[in-house]
Symmetry: C2
Subunit: 111 residues, 2 copies
Amino acid sequence: MFEIIAEPNRRAILSLLVSSQQSVGEVERQLRMPQPTVSKHLRVLREAGFVESTVDAQRRLYRLKPEPLQEVDAWLAPFRRFWSAHVDALERHLDRMDQKTPTKRKTRRRR
Amino acid sequence: MFEIIAEPNRRAILSLLVSSQQSVGEVERQLRMPQPTVSKHLRVLREAGFVESTVDAQRRLYRLKPEPLQEVDAWLAPFRRFWSAHVDALERHLDRMDQKTPTKRKTRRRR
DNA sequence: AGAGCATATACGTGTCAAGGTATATAAAGG
DNA sequence: CCTTTATATACCTTGACACGTATATGCTCT
């Protein structure tokens, strides 16, 4: 999952598909990458469940599937808790600074 | 950034550090990986800004830094909008189903 | 049926990164 | 000092993967 999105071209493709579905040729043109490259990355993305495709005559339309990126999001959850705790600690620290050196301030602390 | 967290051992190390700072030896024992492996991954993590270290006699204590993972989080933002839009669409679809085939249900739709 | 377009796949090549083993650096303690 | 403990680094090997080029598959339209 993380290996999939580690590849810059694949991230570009995903970012492109977030707005709407695209054919291989459209991706090829917008991202200016050779067609086999696009096809190969789309294959990887499809097999990993990041996208799915439907057939439209000779074209294949690829669209995003939410699940894998939701898992990435879920993995981040504990870290989000960590860094919001960090911000809190910083704020408490600044509060102490405020007490020790009472100087004119505009607005601080507005929860 | 994404390359960094693509490596499973590094993700394990990050997950370990989210609770509190750890020395190299503590990581080594808890994750049961050889010491050079731990040191090398920590070096990569440090150079990418995911962790920082302080010296405690012969030990080095590594702790998490929030910024890089926050960037990952930021990259995910557009996709979050995408999949919440998707849930909404699904709900609207189910609402239509409800109207067309009015059958006994326990609880549905409780925003 | 044949030409042309859209997409997929096969194959060869180069690069890079992770792991293992060995060794270096450095501080602590007897 | 010398040994032990803690961590970092060097070197080598191996495997995976991304790319380019060439070719195959498959659909459409005349």
